[in-house]
Symmetry: D2
Subunit: 402 residues, 4 copies
């Protein structure tokens, strides 16, 4: 009996060809397809793997696990890569790796394979994650290894009877999960060109959005969004629902020239209607409930968490330590945020919390004012003292020098 390999299978041409290629190399191929909310027909994908030659084909619904263990971290840590877009592919790769390793261990496989090329970030994320979870598994990258041109690949597919998809001439390379959709290639490779409308799928064009705003209320419990307009949702459902609602209003389109881990700049467009709405709302609730010094330091944690996830180090001990900080910071991020969805905006119009640290009595300029205005005099004196001493010293010295 042959040695087994577990392949991350998407149903597309690359991974279908990879099944045959791996068989050629002497492997028995176990296909594994994960539902992380990309909204594809995964039943079909599961079956296709078997048709193409897999000895076994898994289809795993990991939407809630993805939402709760991965997307939630991205939400609470506001993981906007380079200040621009919430991680999309970077976030699903570690979970997919985890499932591949679980299947490999269950199936007694000796290797795991992914369909990434040699110039993207995802190969790094897969390989580091898989090795971190089980250093004994070999990791194969057929697409990176075979070095075929598109034409050669299609040739090989035809020879071996592998169905070649019809939409193969789509210029784009797309990845999607419930946290968002990324798109690169084609005309997008020209950073001066505006992304054409067909580059987008999850969001309405601004020109096509409704002329009436939609007001929603999101309820958070310890940093977790739990209700939408008063109704409870699981996290995956809530995000998917928001993708619908906010997507309809054109929220969450992002166009970004980014620095990849592998050393190049690339240009991609993203659509993250649910993610951007939630991050915006969550940040506003934190503005209300986090004490100043925590609010001012948390961005440092966020930046590192973002980079670490982007760079494929999800299973590093650093992740656990950052996560511990994050968890602690969310204890009182409980409350309700009112958001107006309109013309591509998720505008927070109101926020309230039982743990609000906004104190109207201290903030008001009315007669209710309880703030001690005299305290400011002493505060300013000591706050400015280093600067003032510095000035005195240098003023004197300059006079001496002049």
């Amino acid at each position: 009996m042959g040695k087994k390999v577990v392949l991350a299978y998407s149903g597309g041409l690359d991974t279908s060809v990879a099944i045959q290629w791996l068989i050629d190399k002497g492997y028995e191929v176990v296909a594994c397809c994960l539902d992380v909310g990309e909204g594809k027909d995964l039943q079909f994908v599961q079956e296709k793997a078997l048709q193409v030659g897999a000895v076994e084909s898994y289809m795993i619904d990991a939407k809630e696990e993805y939402a709760n263990d991965y997307a939630l971290t991205a939400l609470q840590a506001h993981t906007l890569y380079e200040g621009k877009y919430p991680l999309v592919s970077a976030l699903s790769r570690p979970l997919i790796s985890k499932k591949l390793v679980e299947v490999a261990e269950k199936e007694g496989a000796v290797a795991v394979a992914h369909g990434c090329t040699g110039k993207g970030n995802d190969q790094v994320r897969f390989e580091v994650s898989i090795k971190a979870l089980n250093p004994n598994l070999e990791v194969l990258a057929p697409v990176r290894d075979w070095k075929w041109s598109r034409e050669e690949e299609i040739e090989y597919a035809k020879e071996r009877g592998i169905p070649v998809p019809i939409n193969l001439d789509s210029p784009y390379s797309i990845d999607q999960n419930l946290w968002g959709r990324s798109n690169e290639c084609g005309i997008l490779e020209d950073p001066w060109a505006a992304p054409p409308e067909d580059a987008y799928d999850l969001t309405a064009s601004l020109e096509d959005t409704p002329d009436t705003p939609e007001i929603i209320e999101i309820g958070f419990e310890k940093g977790v969004p739990v209700t939408l307009n008063g109704k409870s949702y699981t996290l995956a459902e809530l995000i998917l629902e928001l993708n619908e609602v906010a997507g309809k209003h054109g929220v969450g389109r992002i166009d970004h020239v980014e620095n990849r881990l592998v050393g190049i700049k690339s240009r991609e467009v993203y659509e993250c209607p649910g993610a951007m709405t939630l991050i915006t709302a969550h940040k506003e609730l934190e503005d209300l409930t986090l004490v100043k010094e925590l609010a001012h330091f948390k961005p440092i944690i966020e930046k590192k968490m973002t980079e670490l996830i982007y760079e494929g180090l999800w299973f590093s001990p650093l992740k656990s330590a950052l996560q511990a900080f994050l968890n602690e910071s969310q204890k009182f991020v409980t409350g309700t945020v009112r958001v107006k969805l309109f013309k591509g905006h998720a505008i927070v119009e109101g926020r309230k919390s039982d743990f609000s640290l906004y104190n109207e009595k201290l903030a008001t300029y009315t007669k209710e004012d309880e703030f001690d205005h005299n305290a400011a005099v002493g505060f300013i004196e000591l706050w400015g003292l280093p600067t003032v001493v510095n000035s005195m010293v240098h003023q004197d010295k300059e006079k001496v020098q002049a």
Copy 2:
């Protein structure tokens, strides 16, 4: 002859009353009014000071100095306080302080006075700045010192023949300069309430914005915006022009619950159409022209610059050191950014630069690809090595422990 005080004069009730109050204290009052682009009739303000009793009244046009020495730093450092709004009042205070000190030194004044209350940030900024520039000048804060209720202040004004403005019952407290407009008080003190339309002035409501987008091109030279649609502008003119154009499309409204330096949270709304458009465009040009490691570290500088300005430490030596970093980072931020202004958005649709580090030959997935895909194998191996060693060690140990 009496001792002189230079008063930052706005023409409003508080500083008009302050003139008389300072005269009562035995001072000769020199009024000083700065044009930093707030769009008021400053001629009128200058004259009013004399009517109310000032012995001298200055009106200084500082718009270009403000744009080039202050707003430009905010632009290049993307100084969004708490990730939300570009500094507005915090940015003008050090320049106003500088001018007050210059006038005080010219006039032989012994003191400088400002009209801030005891609970805002501006008192700190004024006092620390003034002391930093001339530690020998006394700083007076009449409004903080007299401790009158609004009614008592009006009473005093009427007694002394000081004109009481008609719009005195406006619920809002506003500050404006060419970099933006801030507004607090009134209904805004309730963070659950949506800001009413009359809280805004520089920007159109989304509901009222044109249904046709406006495409503009902004030309940058070493980080400085120098052209708009191919036409050259001074920086102040360019910002003011953008306030018009982007404001018409509703760009730049911000609603923020912020942590003040004096220890309280307050809720304010901001309008910064020009500033937000420029920051957005500038960031995109940096995405294209800054090398990865610089792009990833610059946010640390930006965050510190933002906090330092917010906290009134503009004249600290730390400012000079951060500025030196910033200047160096801008050397090649030269190019053109195409921005679509539409429905409250400033969407960058294209960016180009002679110094673009985006290399299509490396980025492309077409046959033009020059990226070395094999390099990734070695890269991943060493990149992931610490994580993998960590896993191997802990896997072994857990087995031992189990």
Copy 3:
């Protein structure tokens, strides 16, 4: 019956006078003296409070609580203020505050009092901590309020029959706990003057240290030092024992010009033989057991933890979040460190751990080498790619410009 105040009582002149001063103000004074390892006769102090007029006198042995809940954080976070000295007074203040509040709540007191002056850091730490723990308690600062000269204070003491200590003419102002000893004032106020030998107490002068080194082994369990030379200790005992042993070898003298929270620079000398030995050893064990990315980020947490403690914000939610990170980071900091104490040095000569990530097979240059040298080629290519692309672009442009 009078309202009660709980006074942090040290037995010195200031707090003895404060008892009487508070009685004059109409309070019943409950004295409270904490043993945090300063090595004083606290029995005597407890009794003296009653003699001087306190209605009640507490003496609380908090050494183990101090070691486990406070010093341990300082150890694991390597909290060297300004890179120089482990926090000493800053670390005990929050615990003392906590105990004062507990006593106040038990005794039904309305206020808490401390003996700090108006220019030190400790007043801030006490007042913020006490208010954080119980915002309803008033905080009194008799020494800051009475504004007496030393002579006036002694005069008052003599009048009221308060014993004036004999060593009152010591030029120094000292604070001590098991984590170290601080000393300021007198000749130390001249930063050009070398600290005289009598400024030190816990450590031998280098000139007087033994000519034979002492080798010790410290055993850590999850970041906690638990054994010394194989023998188990409670944490307080272990630190105190190390103060003896390392102090004898002159370890831990520090001379520092520091930036106080209240805006001035001051010069102090510290002695922290146990603390410095432990921090040094702990850092070395981390070097062996922490994965690279965690080791490189932890200093950011350490710096913030240090500043937060120094600045009196121990009871801030930020402390809890930083602590959560810290706890997570210590899970595998288990092992043994061999330290040579000699001539003022605590030299780590060897470190070992079951969780060591140092892999001799990867590190060695012998034939045992298992490191993949070929991987480096690909790694370097991608690692340097941004820099190289940057050079190519700028080289071209410069040629064009030249």
Copy 4:
């Protein structure tokens, strides 16, 4: 005529063999040997290259350039890698690369070669630096490429008549320049073993240091050490002199388990008597002359500068930006530091500066005190306000919940 390669030549076995190996590959070899203060007989090295087959042999005295453009950055930025040792090899690699490229351009060479193996950091530093300076030059790494065992290499050397050094059985691998000396391999590969005395060369063993301290005064001008005991030195001379003086007293031995860029931990020992003395003294002068907020932020710059240099990115634009910050920070780091060298310590006993921000009138506890003690009351109130509001809110909520 053959194509030329410029080889970084050290005179040792590896690079001698490399000359022949490169000739075998069809190159004309130009040897290039740099004097960066390693204290070797470079005349001999220069001649040896020719004997072994180089067509040309350069010997370049780069000590002052190295001191002023490289070591000075390390000094002013206190670049202690992982908080432990001042960069040694990392600092010389970019300068050597620069000189190699200059020679290559002058000689019309097509390639540059270095003698590094595949598992160290230096290969990365060389290759990235050379490519950054001239992306058109090929970089060769003979030692990494030939994959010989030590025995095979010696065999080859003997066959080709390349002299095999006598000290070849030294277990150590050493690199040295005026900023310090690094040593790895042999028994040092066991992190539990104490480094034997023969691992050190620049510093006396503590046991052998003089029993009398030596007091020196170092004069700094804008962050640059310019005098020693009142006598002027060039920077290279001053560092070399301090290596002597401080080395005699055993200053600057460091034993470190470090995280390499290539993903492994390694254990090395360093000797940096001059560097550690200067960094210590310089830091103390900064403590006196830098304003608080600058002193507290500079470590962030230092950490990044350290990592960037360690990681081979000296010629990145980020380096220039960090350097600009650094230069600005040094403007007033002028003054004198008195250092006691004794038993392995460089103890700063006194520091003074015309730009000292230490203000004895503010710091003193004598009658001269000019500090405003009342200011503290207001300061504490506002400083602690966020924490207190937080406590009030959570106290209330907990009561409600209980």
